[in-house]
Subunit: 344 residues, 2 copies
C-alpha cells in the first residue's frame, strides 16, 4: 500500500510537550515527568505548577501514537466479530466499548468472516493492539500463528487447548433449562433447530438440551432434529419442514432467537397458534422477542455483560506477565412468555 506524500487536511500544528516546556521555561522531559509519570514524581512544586498551567493554557494532550511507540503498546484493543447486524453481537460490542473507554482503551472494530479474518488480525497486530477479543466466530478458524502473538479473550467459546481466557454465558445450562421448561409443560414430541455453524456455544446449548431430555427419558427423534442457517430465513424453512412431518412436534427449541423468530413467522403463516398448538422457545432473549405476537419465550444470556467482562479480563491480563488463562461462566435465565404453554 502506498503511503506518504499525501496531503492531509488540518495539519494544525499539534501542541507538543516541547511547546509546553518552552512555555514553562523547563526542559521537555520535565514536562513529561510531571504529566505522565507516577502520581507524585519528585519535582519542585513551583515548576510543577508552572508546567501544569502551561499545559492547560496551551491545551496540551500527549500524542498516544508516540507514547505507544515508546511503550510498545497502544492502549487499543481489537474486537473481532462476524457482523453486528446480529443484535447479540451488537450488545457484546456495546458492553465492551463502554468498559474499554472507561479504562482509557480504544476499540478497533473488525467485522470478519472466514475469508478476511487473517487480514484483519494482521492489521490489528500492525497497530500494536494490546489484545483482542473474539466473539461469534470460532477461534480455531482464525490464523493460529498470529493469534498466538496476541493477548486473547474469547467470548462464548471454550479455548482450544485451553490457551486463551474465556468469558461465556452458561450454554450447557441454557440448553438444560430449555429442555426442563418444555418437559415441565409436559411435552414429549420435542424438536430442535440448530445452526449449521459449528460455533462452540451453539453445540453446548444443544448438548445441554439433549442431555436433559435423555435424563427425562425423552429420546430425540432424528426427524425432529433440524439444521438451518442462523438467520430468520433459515428458521423459517426449518420450521416448515417440521410442520410437514406426519407427526409434527408439539414443542420446538431453537438455539438462537433469530432462528426462533423465523420459526415463529413460519408457524404463524401456517396458521399454527403458538403457545396453543405449538410451543416455541428461543435462546439469547433479544429485544425483538417482545415485538412478535405472541411474545417469544427465551433463555436470556448476558451480552453486554460478556463484552464488559471480556475487556476487564483482557486488561487484567496485560498487567501480569504470568497470567494464566481463566474461564468465567455467567448464568443464564429462563424468560417465560407467550410462546411456551402446556401441551395441548
Amino acid at each position: 500500500m502506498r503511503i506518504g506524500n499525501m496531503p492531509i487536511r488540518f495539519g494544525k500544528p499539534r501542541i507538543t510537550a516541547a511547546d509546553v516546556a518552552r512555555h514553562a521555561g523547563v526542559s521537555q522531559p520535565t514536562v513529561s515527568l510531571v504529566l505522565s509519570k507516577h502520581p507524585h514524581a519528585r519535582v519542585a512544586k513551583a515548576t510543577r505548577e508552572r508546567i501544569l498551567q502551561a499545559a492547560q493554557e496551551l491545551g496540551y494532550r500527549p500524542n498516544r501514537l508516540a507514547q505507544g511507540l515508546v511503550h510498545r503498546r497502544s492502549f487499543a484493543l481489537g474486537l473481532l466479530v462476524p457482523g453486528f447486524g446480529n443484535p447479540v453481537n451488537a450488545n457484546i460490542v456495546s458492553g465492551a466499548e463502554r468498559v474499554a473507554a472507561d479504562e482509557g482503551y480504544a476499540v478497533l472494530l473488525s467485522e470478519i468472516d472466514e475469508s478476511n479474518a487473517a487480514r484483519h488480525v494482521h492489521t490489528l497486530i500492525d497497530r500494536q493492539v494490546d489484545g483482542v477479543i473474539i466473539a461469534g466466530i470460532a477461534a480455531d478458524t482464525l490464523p493460529q500463528q498470529e493469534l498466538s502473538r496476541l493477548n486473547v479473550v474469547l467470548i462464548n467459546q471454550p479455548s482450544p487447548a485451553n490457551r486463551y481466557s474465556t468469558v461465556a454465558g452458561d450454554s450447557l445450562a441454557a440448553g438444560s433449562l430449555a429442555a426442563e421448561h418444555l418437559l415441565e409443560l409436559e411435552h414429549e414430541r420435542i424438536a430442535f433447530i440448530g445452526p449449521h455453524t459449528p460455533l462452540p456455544a451453539f453445540r453446548l446449548r444443544e448438548r445441554g438440551f439433549v442431555t436433559r431430555l435423555r435424563a427425562a427419558g425423552v429420546v430425540p427423534r432424528s426427524e425432529y432434529w433440524q439444521r438451518a442457517d442462523a438467520t430468520v430465513a433459515g428458521g423459517q424453512s426449518a420450521m416448515r419442514r417440521l410442520l410437514e412431518l406426519p407427526e409434527p412436534p408439539t414443542a420446538v427449541f431453537c438455539v438462537t432467537d433469530v432462528i426462533a423468530l423465523g420459526a415463529h413467522k413460519a408457524a404463524s403463516k401456517a396458521g399454527i397458534r403458538l403457545g396453543g398448538d405449538l410451543s416455541l422457545l428461543g435462546c439469547d432473549d433479544i429485544e425483538m422477542n417482545t415485538l412478535v405476537s405472541p411474545e417469544l419465550s427465551s433463555i436470556r444470556t448476558p451480552q453486554r455483560e460478556l463484552g464488559a467482562l471480556a475487556v476487564r479480563q483482557l486488561i487484567q491480563q496485560l498487567h501480569r506477565e504470568d497470567a494464566q488463562p481463566t474461564t468465567h461462566i455467567l448464568p443464564v435465565k429462563l424468560i417465560k412468555r407467550g410462546t411456551t404453554k402446556r401441551k395441548p
Copy 2:
C-alpha cells in the same frame, strides 16, 4: 492516567526494518525504501530481491504506530454513534467498517451520548485519527472547538454552517413519500409520531410529511401529532394515546421503524387490525419489519450505503488540501407491506 512500568504480556520481539536490513546486508532506510515507497523506487534489482526475501522470511510488517508518528496521521478513522443497539446504527457502522478495512483504515468505535461525547472526541484526537464520522447524534451537541480540528463527515444531517461534508438519505423525500402513500390510500385522518430528539434527519422527515399533506389540502390536527421516545416503549404509549382519541386516526406515520414497531404492538394489543382498521407506516425499513404480523410497511433508507459512502468521502477529503464540504443525498424507497391498506 498512569502509564509505563506495566508489564505487557507477549512482548515477543517484533521484527523491525532494522532486522530485515541486517538480514539482507543493507541499511535500514533502504529497507524502508523498498517496502513502503512508490512502486518503483530506484534501487538495484538484486538488492530489492534480497530485501523482499528477507522481509518475507522474517515475516516483517511495518509498525503502523511508527509510520503514524512520522506521517502525522494514523490511518484510522473515528466513528461516533449513539448506541448500536439501534439496528440502523449497526448497519451504518457495518457499512463503514467494511470500506474502511478495504482501504487500509482502522475504525475506532465510540459509543457516545451527550455526556461523554467530549471525552471521546478528545480520545480520538489524541490518537491522531485522520477523520471522524458522526452518525445518529446532532453535530452541534458536540464540542465545536475540537471538532473543527478534525476531518468530519456527517451522516444523516446537514452540516451546521455548512462546515462539514454530509451524506444522508433523502429525509424530505422520505416524509413526502410517506404522505403520498397514505393519501393514495385515501386516508384523511392522518397521524404522526415523531421522537423528542431534535435529530435533523427526523425533523426533515416530518417536514416532508407535513408539506406533502398540506399540498393535498390535509391539515395536520394537533391531537394527531405525537412525540415519543425513539424506542419501542415510546411508540407504544404514543399509539395508545392516539387510540384513545374520540376520533382516532385511520393512518399513522412513524418517523422511525423502532417507534412504528412499538405502535404496531400497541395497536395489536388493543385489538386493532392493522392494515384493516388502521394503516401504519414506518421509516428506515429495518429487518424486523418482516417479523411482525402483518409486516410493517416502511420507507427504506440506505444504511450500509451511508456508512460506506461516508468513509469514501472522508478518505477522499484527506487527499485534497483544498477539499470543500460536499453533500451527498441518497434516494429512499417506499416498501409496501401489510400494515398499509386503503381506508376502511
